[in-house]
Symmetry: D2
Subunit: 287 residues, 4 copies
């Protein structure tokens, strides 16, 4: 199997549907001559021990399947780290914005994908650098959003925002979201942000519970470098990437966000378009 083509599988922990579906899926792939690589979770579902950490995507992987919800896709996207490997997101829970493919559609879509017939939506990632005392302390890639949030209970934080050295404003809020169009239907929407069609080349800055009535979401071109300076005292603010990883911030830490040169290639079912998912998922437009 070492030399051949392989398919990676990443599953969400604790999902019975994944456990049931996996043996047949692995068999299906092996019959067609594909090696199968899996992460630790998937390995434990299969009762085997050769799972890899998620972020290790071995050579020869031609496609990665994510089994779970939007969160699993976000994790898989980070694991792929910008490699040009298509990601087939199978939805095992409620409909997700990133996981429109149902279990029933898995095999036909996989057949099509492995034969090279792909309908891929290329979603651009957001590159994020944490700069501490003048040095880059950490680097992240986000598919949805970068969030600066209060770490304490019921305390607002203080964030200065610039777009390309143009001062945007000083936010006094529970936090601030920098979201891609892909992330506009996730946390940014909950915080009052607009819905952004995926092909718009822009980012949105959406404040979380701003303590100023004049604050509104701001859309900037994705060619701008967004610079956020956290003025909260040490460890009172927290940086979160795609709602999944992150770290506490020190006072005067800077977070730089810019359009990444990495993309994620999501395999989309032919059936659903952007506003269709909105309608199903958000009851968009229903009375």
């Amino acid at each position: 199997m070492a030399s051949g083509k392989a398919v990676g599988i990443i599953s969400k922990p604790g999902v019975d549907k994944a456990r049931k579906l996996l043996p047949a899926l692995v068999e299906w792939l092996r019959c067609r001559g594909y090696g199968v690589r899996y992460d630790d979770v998937t390995a434990s579902y299969l009762g085997v021990s050769d799972g890899l950490p998620r972020e290790q995507v071995p050579e020869g992987t031609v496609l990665v399947i994510s089994l779970g919800g939007d969160g699993t896709v976000l994790a898989a996207a980070r694991a792929l780290g910008g490699r040009e490997i298509p990601l087939l997101p199978v939805n095992l829970g409620g409909l997700g914005f990133l996981t429109a493919l149902t279990e029933e559609e898995l095999y036909p879509e996989l057949e099509r994908a492995l034969s090279g017939e792909l309908r891929v939506a290329r979603r651009r990632m957001l590159h994020c650098e944490l700069v501490r005392q003048g040095r880059v302390a950490a680097v992240y890639e986000a598919l949805n959003d970068v969030v600066l949030d209060k770490a304490d209970i019921a305390r607002m934080i203080d964030i200065e925002a610039w777009a390309n050295d143009q001062f945007v404003c000083r936010y006094k809020a529970d936090g601030l979201i920098v979201s891609t169009p892909t992330g506009s239907t996730a946390y940014s929407l909950s915080a009052g942000g607009p819905i952004i069609f995926p092909s718009v080349e822009a980012l949105v800055l959406t404040p979380i519970c701003p303590h100023m009535l004049t604050m509104r979401p701001v859309i900037v071109p994705d060619t701008a470098v967004i610079r956020l300076v956290s003025r909260a005292r040490d460890n009172a603010a927290y940086l979160t990437i795609d709602g999944q990883v992150g770290e506490p911030l020190l006072q005067d830490d800077q977070v730089l966000c810019r359009r990444s040169d990495k993309t994620v290639s999501l395999i989309r079912p032919p059936r659903l378009k952007f506003f269709d998912v909105l309608r199903e998922k958000l009851k968009w437009g229903e009375r």
Copy 2:
């Protein structure tokens, strides 16, 4: 001093203006025959050691002065615990909703107050019980709000809400605020809630970043008992009173909120009315 009338002083830590103002204020009060009681913070400003914990309001106290901002008033209100002692809130920072009295107005207003000429706004508190496994585990009184909030980074929580055994809805959100009219201009406003005139006999349920587009703030009569059930796993949700005290919640903890029989008697300057403060503080109505 033990037997006589006394005035209590509660100050905000770390405020230079309080430190400077205090010796003259204490002297002013003593000249007029009033004993002075102070909390630990005030004692340290005065360089003395007989400060009391804030919640100890000794017998004979005829009036309490709070020096600071709205937070100091909230702490003083909790310390008073419903006693019929008027609270004179002096504003040492930016204008607050509860602290409309400036430093310049302190002495004339104090003179008037001690002579019995009071313009008092009686604000009703919110009584909150934490019920864990069928038993009352804690009791609080809030002047502004009771908040159930996510304790983790970037995770929504799940809260069921009833008003008088009528099911309101299951909130999936960053949190939920139960606010008095007094609190409607505080955290609830940041989360998108309406402004409620202080004399309206109602409470508002304002969700924080709800993951459902249909959620709107809901106003219920203050005669209703609001019952919130936290469905988040142990320690993933947090209960906060007036943004100041609270505790982590266990799964299925219930939080009961009802109109308290306690009120706070705020001394108000003759100058400013409700919408005047809104205008000054929130740029209300300005372009």
Copy 3:
């Protein structure tokens, strides 16, 4: 028929369902000894000529049935003009907030109602006076709302608002809604207002597209007199009652709104409570 008990029927024009349902309903009522009175629309459905104008509710009427949607209930409520006659609102279209009763529930509910077994929700109306050059030029009663709106295309209007002679603010907006709790789920909700439980004794002022970012809905006690002064030039603003009747305003016209001493007695089905209707109607709380 002149001396006996009668039931009034008010129907919505152009509704096929009403036309089909009416003959059996009239027959059902006559069999039980009730005279039937109808408005012009209902008369034309029945092919008879003795329909009365809606606002004429004859002596001896013990109950009025409205056949249509929320609009028909609003019209019937105005027709009743505060008389203590219960109103049975039958919903012939999509579910309404005021018309929760389906066609199937009509006869059982009517039986119960005529036998005196009523579950009535008493909804308080809003009294509105138009004062022009110091004189009362018109008087209205609203169940939902009083709206001052721009009459021209794409021009904002200028409205000063007072609550009990306390200046609230000068609105520059497309318009301003003064809504009862009953109306809070109608136009006010579309304009961004909160949901107000029917038993809250309050009114809400909700601006329509305010040209100031600081504007928020304001809740005032229903004991307050709300005074609106239209500063738009003659005929540039329009006064509308319940979205149905009204008139153009002249510059400096004043509109006074206060809690009416009139109520509407809505017969409610036992099945549905306030938040149940919200859930069905607004997808309230659904993802």
Copy 4:
């Protein structure tokens, strides 16, 4: 004067400041060898009779000055109709988003502009076609927005929206705004839309008082063709361009909006950047 270079002047009716400023401005221009062309309003201020209709911009015009507010700039932009003539917007009232130049800055900025030292912001227009029964019935260019609005009092209208033949949704609302980034700080903002930086290549669809709680502003790429179909009965909906011109719509009229190939070249003062104007004008970011 016929053969030489000329400067056009367009003023707002009824503005005293324009009347006072004009004679000196005309003299200043003539001294420097520029012919002056003016619209009817400006001519009447000058007490002369050779004013032209606004939309006539004669040959040889090298620059147009607008004296007034944002509305005057919008009218001047339509008059220029995409010609490559720079527009110098002088602000004679409150600060505008398009008219950041004060009266004091007029002469220095004019001097610079006529000597070729221009700081021009090129703002792309929105092309709008009204299609009635399959034929183009009217064509407009908008700088800010295209609005479909209810023409009646207090009645919602029904609009279907497509982006590039992808169905967006059926709006039941008071209206729908299609706005450029330039227009995002105008009517769209009042209706709850986000602030869009001028260089973002996108349009926003912002509903006005939608009768569905799930409606949010939607950002689409400006390469999309937006097709709106008005389902309101004849004359119940109205089409408005930049809040200034328009016409009533018939049922099933279609309004097509797409990125125009025309731009407006606004001369900007060196002093103010986008967020500075937001701060001054909207109290953006102030408490």
